[in-house]
Amino acid sequence: MHRAGLSPVRVASALALASWAGLFWFLIGSGRTSLYLSSRTDWVVPVGAIVLTAALAGRLLSLRTARPEALTRREALAIGLTILPVVTVLALPPASLGSFAADRRSSLASAGFSGDAGDISSGEVTLVDVASALRSGEGMQQLTKRAGAEVGFVGFVTRDPGMPADEFLLTRFLVSCCAADALSIQVRVVGAPPGRFEADQWVRAEGLLYPLGGEVIVDATLVEGVPRPDRPYLNS
């Protein structure tokens, strides 16, 4: 018979559970969930935090055993691999998808988003309305009736090669679930102060809206730098 001792395997697995539980609590406390998930799915973070914490409690209460299992180098590496993403999220500065992703996801942007075209005809025009308009002929017709409407959009700056210095694309991502399914929405801002805004800089552009052909143009009356919003992605 042996006295119960600490098991290295159980200690290592507790470390993994603690890391992930800690990450989810950190996401809740820091508000960084919105950099990764949409508001539709961000409930998984508190659920994950609670379930992982309960699992950790169970593991901590059973750390001791009469036959402590050995932790091989290979198992340690495998557990390290499981914890590595936690390290990456915590070690990296908070960031959201930017112009690099906008370039890569361009086909999704042109495909647009399945919104309700009926919402466009009244009220304030939003970037989600623009996405709906870009998607469907009916939506674009609705938006065309709003030509000349005053709008104010917040997004980050992206530029196409050869764009005039006083133009840029104001871009925002629309997320259904997580950043992996982000679709970009873009409007062309004309009449911006030349050279004042860099790629990926968050700005607010105010002006008059003009849907033209397959794109939407904002003739800017004001463009100013703003901090990244707490929720950088729009939700579908």
Binding site: M1, H2, R3, A4, G5, P8, R10, A12, S13, L15, W20, L27, Y36, L37, R40, T41, V47, V51, L52, A55, G58, L61, S62, T65, A66, R67, P68, E69, A70, L71, R73, E75, A78, L81, T82, L84, P85, T88, V89, L90, L92, P93, A95, L97, S99, F100, R104, R105, S106, S107, L108, S114, S136, C177, C178, A179, A180, D181, L183, S236
Partner: protein
């Protein structure tokens, strides 16, 4: 019973490995800080996609591990005997429809299916359940409905997805039928740790942690592969084949494989591919929850050699044939 004698010592080096694990992770954090991936757009994009896939999937993995551990510890082995008494033609449809009662996405269903097969449920039924649950569960049906609400193709998408998903899952189950769990399941080297003596809750905690860590490591590899593909393969390549009949379906299946989206949200992405027809969008929605980058890694770790290849072939064929018919009838 515990006495005052010395505990059986773990093998030499065990605690050194624990320390190496902690030290290695601290070093990784320092290296990441030094590199500062925020300066490199591609790297930053990779880490955001990678993190988002994991943050979304890990809670489902851990919930799947809870169910899996519960089955192992609290469900008697004979509980699945009744399933075996069902007439054979009914076993697979019942297993497939049982997925309706398991509202988690694909990551959570893999450990549960593995546990069900290890516990005595026929592997064919376990695999059918595993593949159908991510498509047939009520959350996925509701999200598909919401994504296509207001379109002419609403019911073609909602019912077509459920029907084809069930057919593809049953087809894989049919191919697997006759194989034993030892033939289909890959042995897990860490499994011996899980048979922990002591009270049931302790055993439950052991199984839960074991399943989470086992699935978690492969999920990390799969998410990394998906993030790499999403970061460095332009999606415009896919859009260029939208008007080519069969190729459009295959392209959308390929895209579903690459994106590795959660089945509870993929309908919103599929609905945005308006340049593709109803068949191609349906192919995306049926194929993706059963076959994608991260699932490929999970299947390869859970099931025997050749299983993943077989799933790709069977699900791909059923999806292609089914969506071609739907394209003809509805498109």
């Amino acid at each position: 019973m515990v006495d005052l004698a010395r505990p059986a010592p773990p093998r030499t080096g065990s605690w050194t490995n624990v320390l190496l694990l902690g030290g290695g992770l601290a070093l990784a954090a320092l290296v990441l800080r030094a590199i500062d991936p925020g300066r490199i757009a591609g790297l930053q994009n990779f880490f955001i996609i990678f993190g988002s896939l994991l943050i979304e999937a890990v809670p489902f993995i851990v919930m799947g591990a809870v169910v899996s551990a519960g089955i192992e510890v609290f469900v008697p082995a004979r509980a699945f005997d009744r399933m075996a008494t069902l007439p054979k033609p009914l076993q697979l449809p019942v297993a497939g429809i049982a997925g309706f009662a398991f509202p988690v996405c694909e990551c959570g269903s893999v450990p549960v299916a593995r546990r069900l097969a290890a516990k005595g449920l026929s592997p064919a039924a376990a695999v059918t359940f595993m593949l159908s649950a991510p498509i047939l569960n009520p959350i996925v049906i509701a999200s598909t409905y919401v994504a296509y609400r207001g379109r002419d193709t609403l019911w073609a998408m909602v019912l077509g997805r459920s029907f084809l998903g069930l057919m593809a899952a049953m087809a894989v189950g049919w191919v697997v039928a006759g194989r034993s769990s030892s033939e289909i399941l890959r042995p897990r080297p860490d499994e011996e740790h899980h048979h922990e003596s002591g009270p049931r809750w302790s055993s439950f905690a052991g199984h839960l942690a074991g399943d989470f860590l086992f699935m978690g490591r492969y999920l990390v590899i799969g998410a990394a592969a998906a993030a790499l593909l999403q970061t460095f393969v332009p999606q415009s390549i896919i859009g260029s084949v939208a008007d080519t009949p069969v190729l459009a379906l295959v392209a959308m299946m390929g895209l579903a494989f690459v994106l590795s989206l959660c089945s509870e949200s993929d309908a919103f992405v599929a609905a945005s591919f308006v340049q593709f027809g109803v068949g191609a969008q349906l192919a995306f929605l049926v194929f993706g929850p059963m076959v994608d980058t991260k699932l490929g890694i999970l299947y390869s770790a859970t099931f025997s050699k050749g299983f993943f290849r077989m799933v790709v072939l069977v699900v791909g064929t059923v999806t292609l044939m089914g969506t071609l018919w739907i394209e003809v009838l509805v498109g």
